[in-house]
Symmetry: C2
Subunit: 456 residues, 2 copies
């Protein structure tokens, strides 16, 4: 007899994972290494460690170790907001009239509002362990900056956040959350760095860009004694930390003997998707199980579905290393889209390789249909989702509706990465009916891809 599945499956505290899982260890085709843009050679530990914490550089470069112990201090912090619930979407199933069984792993029940905290606390821990004074980072909408501020507050580390100036001024709420957690939030470009000063001299009225904020944060890290730079997505280390999501999900499903058919996640830089799917992908790579895995991206920034698998800069400023990934070109400017966390031109190298090898699918969805799904989800499941997360909701609903047609009772699991409490401007434009979908033309993408760097 099937066990009765509760609305929310919470693991016990002692069931929170104590190791992260490194999917690279099980990949036959390893993700391509980061390259030094100057030499075209793979980056070494020595080249990376002036920028990132040493232990994190090791995690970044390690394609072989399958499991990394989670340090006790990080495990303790996890208890503040983990385990996160795996929710059976009974209300949504009923509203859709689908025989599908839908589950979502909800990472939004913490003040940073998303899964970002999982990696932030790890990065802060290694900075502390290395005896650093603090870290620098950039933030656009502010989700990552908030998570990093919370993590730094816990370890008593200084946290310098460069926040894109237009966000700093127009989105004061996340800025204030960061300040409450003790972070020093600087509008970017600023007079505190050479990059910033130069830009302000040339363009005094600029409202900033993420590319510039990254440049300032990196400069601040290397020019301040005792600081390193931290980044919230794309990197292998970040995906590693985020596997706590997938490991908890799998443990919760296993507890009730549930085997998912389809696993869905939204994809920007890939941190949430990579974290959610890693343990399942591991089984798939080892031939132990099979799953359909679907990455969902915005139609306005479709790196998987319309990009090229090639080496490219990770940043618009072209100062970061080259990564082999699905990219729209580092100079690609996505049209305005409210899912700020998905407006990245590239993609995690791990996920890019897996997609290239046919181990996962990808689809692009349009913003208005994403918000229709978000609204429906909010009304029946009670949680107002982040625009980013709502991409996964859209795909989950679409798959559940297919089941309704075919009568199949498939089990669908998706990642609900966060809440939309700081995205109400987006909801306002949806509620007002003024939201639109702007999709790049083939010409736009070709023009941007024409500028891909040549790799020696």
């Amino acid at each position: 007899m099937e066990k009765k599945i509760p609305y929310k499956i919470y693991l016990a505290e002692n069931e929170i994972p104590t190791q992260w899982y490194n999917v690279r260890a099980d990949m036959k085709n390893k993700p391509a290494p980061l390259l030094n843009p100057g030499t075209g050679q793979p980056l070494t530990l020595e080249e990376l460690s002036p920028i990132f914490c040493e232990e994190l550089c090791r995690q970044e470069l390690d394609n072989d170790t399958a499991y990394f112990d989670i340090p006790e201090e990080i495990q303790n912090f996890y208890k503040m907001y983990r385990p996160s619930p795996l929710v059976r979407a009974y209300f949504l199933e009923k509203a859709l009239g689908t025989p599908a069984k839908i589950y979502y792993k909800f990472e939004g029940n913490n003040t940073s509002g998303s899964h970002k905290l999982n990696s932030a606390i790890a990065q802060a821990y290694y900075a502390k362990k290395q005896g650093l004074k603090g870290v620098t980072t950039e933030t656009g909408a502010g989700q990552w900056g908030t998570a990093m501020s919370m993590a730094c507050a816990y370890f008593g580390l200084d946290c310098k956040v460069f926040m894109v100036k237009c966000s700093y001024e127009q989105k004061p709420f996340r800025r204030e959350v960061m300040r409450t957690y003790g972070a020093q939030v600087t509008p970017s470009p600023s007079m505190t760095t050479n990059v910033g000063r130069k830009l302000l001299e040339e363009f005094p009225d600029t409202t900033g860009s993420l590319g510039c904020a990254i440049s300032e944060a990196v400069e601040a890290a290397v020019s301040n004694e005792g600081y390193r730079y931290v980044l919230g997505s794309v990197l292998n280390q970040v995906l590693l930390h985020q596997t706590v999501i997938g490991l908890e999900t799998k443990a919760a499903l296993d507890k009730y003997g549930i085997k998912p058919d389809i696993i869905i996640g939204c994809a920007g830089g890939g941190s949430n998707l990579g974290g959610l799917i890693s343990p399942f992908m591991g089984e798939k790579l080892r031939g132990e199980a099979d799953y359909r895995i679907i990455a969902v991206e915005p139609a306005s920034c479709p790196s998987f579905t319309r990009g090229k698998f090639a080496y490219d800069f990770c940043d618009t400023g072209m100062i970061c290393p080259l990564a082999k990934m699905y990219t729209l070109g580092s100079q690609f400017i996505p049209s305005a889209n409210h899912a700020g966390g998905l407006r990245f031109h590239g993609m995690s190298t791990i996920l890019s390789q897996l997609y290239h090898d046919g181990l996962m699918e990808a689809r692009a969805v349009e913003q208005t249909s994403v918000f229709e799904a978000a609204e429906m989800f909010a009304r029946v499941e009670g949680t107002l989702p982040a625009p980013e997360s709502s991409h996964a909701i859209r795909a989950a609903i679409d798959e559940a509706l297919k089941c309704k047609e075919t009568g199949e009772a498939k089990t669908i699991v998706f990642g609900l990465t966060g809440t939309g409490y700081f995205d109400l401007k987006a909801y306002e434009s949806f509620n007002d009916g003024t939201m639109s979908d702007v999709i790049p033309t083939d010409g736009d993408i070709a023009a941007s891809l024409a500028k891909l760097p040549e790799v020696k």
Copy 2:
């Protein structure tokens, strides 16, 4: 041997209470009845039921039934966001260096952001059951309006929210949450009611008041076929629904054999405090146990600590019934305070009677010291608290620090009613150092109390 207490105690789904507890049944001195301001006579079911749903009127007037079954549909909805966690504040205890054991019941993990949803869903249910089309209500900062919108979306009820105009314009975020849940949000005063039209004719530039919004909502309820008015605090029925908080808290404590010494809650209209303490107060009233129970109110609006126990209007507009309560006078205008939910001149009649009978304590705390506690709590416990809830945090920290002095390992339980994600303007003024404390003079209060109505 003492059981190891986890960071978060979650009850299982089948341990969510199935009955509300009516503390009035155990009170020797019953709360004084609501009076009709015209006749000075206790309000009858017949007089109340054109305004409120019939079943809710019954709950309002029933001082004898100790337990009310929670209808199955409400129990189902509870599963969306309940049980809420009872958190052991290990991080806070460590930061304070106190031997005290601190617990908090966290009601903020839902999109309405607070405990208000517990009563909203009950009120929506009874409206639906009565075959109504919808409900009307008012909202200031928007917490109650959001909760009511969510509850109405669940039952497919129309929800007309009159939102104080200045909040409607200055706090568009909660407004958009309500709209996303399908509510019709009208800035008050509006042209849709006689009260509103009259006021706008006289004062075309008014930015509205809660008193006026209440009047509009009541008018809209009685003048629209198939509508009733709903209210989020003060009333006996609301305290009854909110006992789900206290019952869950007690069940979680009992599970681990924990007996609290001190129970603390913030007090505005009294809904959260009443809900949290009811089962404990019941034991106290029946002589089965003893607890110190502390109500915490803002020094800017100190109804318990500086008000008078007397009959007064529940609203500034003086159209609502008279209630016997601790009041500062219905014409008292509290100085600007960021805890909007605590800026009520009166107090629940149940709590007023209990306080009058010496069964609980009260203290008033100043805003800046409340935000100091909030900031500390956010940094060590990870959750950014609502300004209202932070009043309870302040008192809990103060009691824990007393324990540090005396070396006593007391067990302190407090209610963390909600999150501060929509209160970042308040945090901004605290972060900027521009927050101040304005406390009414004795003269202010005396002048306001001089206008108390005469009861025939």
